[in-house]
């Protein structure tokens, strides 16, 4: 699996309340949620975002609530991948559980700039900034999580394991 896109860059501690504000949580329609993504921190986000774009952020991305609406709305809005210095743990779990690959790589998160074109190879964890021609090695996923991402999320993983429905 690979991703390639332009970078939208953010700072530290981007919390779930700004990724998708609570006032929109009485809906769980993914498309509707996606239309409000990042509105409180970056009102032009959904207009600027092109399908496949990559988010780069500082530490503790996705801190705050357990709302799976947060990774879901970013994935649905068209974000292909998030590279951050670190992720808040529930956001990390939720992303993997919905088959949204996210990578921790402090060096890449520091150096890659807004607007750069970046290429990500999930299998090897190699991140290439095509604008600056620099490459970075992200922490690869442990095999258990790789299996889950390949299954496109926890639901399929459970069903495969149980051999039941779906």
């Amino acid at each position: 699996m690979k991703a390639r896109g332009h970078v939208l860059k953010y700072g530290d501690n981007v919390d779930t309340d700004v990724i998708i504000p609570a006032r929109y949580l009485n809906s769980f329609d993914a498309e509707e949620l996606a239309s409000h993504a990042m509105v409180d921190i970056d009102p032009t986000f959904t207009q600027r975002l092109q399908k496949g774009d990559i988010m780069v952020a500082g530490k503790n991305f996705g801190c705050g609530s357990s709302r799976e609406h947060a990774p879901l709305c970013l994935k649905t809005a068209g974000v292909s991948c998030i590279i951050a210095k670190s992720f808040a743990r529930i956001f990390y779990r939720n992303s993997i559980n919905i088959g949204f690959a996210i990578l921790e790589c402090p060096e890449a998160a520091e150096e890659i700039q807004e607007g750069d074109v970046v290429n990500v190879d999930y299998d090897s964890g190699i991140i290439t900034d095509e604008t600056t021609h620099k490459t970075y090695q992200a922490q690869p996923f442990p095999p258990f999580l790789q299996k889950m991402i390949k299954a496109n999320g926890l639901v399929n993983y459970v069903n495969e394991k149980k051999g039941t429905k779906a």
Partner: protein
Amino acid sequence: MGMTMTQKILAAHAGLDHVEAGQLIEAKLDVVMANDITGPMALPIFRQMADRVFDPDKVYLVPDHFTPNKDIKSAENSKAILDFSYDQHLTHVLEQGKCGVEHAILPERGYVTAGECIIGADSHTCTYGALGAFSTGVGTTDIATGMATGELWFKVPSAIRFKITGKPSPYVSGKDVILHIIHEIGVDGALYQSMEFTGDGIQYLTMDDRFTICNMAIEAGAKNGIFPVDEQTEAYLKEHCQKPHTVYTADADAVYDREIEVDLSKVRPMVAFPHLPGNGHTIDEVEQMDRIKIDQVVIGSCTNGRMSDLRKAASILKDQKVADHVRVMVVPATQKIFLQCIQEGLAEIFVKAGCAFNTPSCGPCMGGHMGVMAKGERCVSTTNRNFVGRMGDTESYIYLASPQTAAASAIAGYIANPETIGGAQK
């Protein structure tokens, strides 16, 4: 190599003799909880995996965030989890007017106990660590999987040991302790880790203090917070819980990433400024600044809406008046607490002082309803998050504090020191 208290609970639930930090395991679940926001979203995911929940005794769906239903969508969400609770013959069906905020109601009713492995589709599920359980917040896919299979994957966390010493002064409570700690270690200071609280000082922390402290472990990025089981825990469980429990203790040679000492006698009333819970200042620092005028005060939530919190707030508001330009929302966390406030005369104290005394709900805590702020407004709140836009407009401001500090500020009209302002008039 020994295990931490959290690791021991996880090992036992994974059927393993030993686990280590970083290990990926699948553990059996004792309690699976979701609410009116996360529950409805989990149901279609659940249905992709199963027709029936793994155990109707162990699944709880709590309507608390947008309840009493604030609009049609909220009503549909509440209805979805209520219908599901009945369809699945859940042993405990929770309905508005008969329950309260999830993290207050589950311990109060004895649905959670020591030694259990608990997940909730709400980040503050870490609250129940106060009882000596492993308890953590997860997302909707996790919760759907938990409801379907009774099992979930976990990465075994490493831990920070907090050695609690000393005795707190009268106007310092659990909220000040945790705001102090988050200020020290930062909002990602315990990322992916357990926060294990030990030491002589914990005897001076009541169960309500411990719930408040564990509630905010997530605000330091932690996977869970956990207290050892002592006489206070046993007494609490005896009073509230019928289920048998298991006491786990950390091994003497357990390995911790670091140890941090917290001397309770040195902790001061704390105020976390916008927009991060780690942005704490002592009340003494606040008193050195220009006065911070406020428009709203919220006393309630899963952090500080318990009986002792409301008693503390009432002791300051007794025979006092809330400042003219301030509106105060007092929101007891459960119906039982609500009733007790009436019986003990607290409701009268609040209303006479000029506070709105509201039905149990998350309400203003996450800007849902019952206390949403306009642009430019400032609030002192006993809740747990002061993120941008959390309680209303993105240009409104939340200052997190204890019930005592919130009550004193309500009277003063600006952020004030509970040691010098209010009923106890000092």
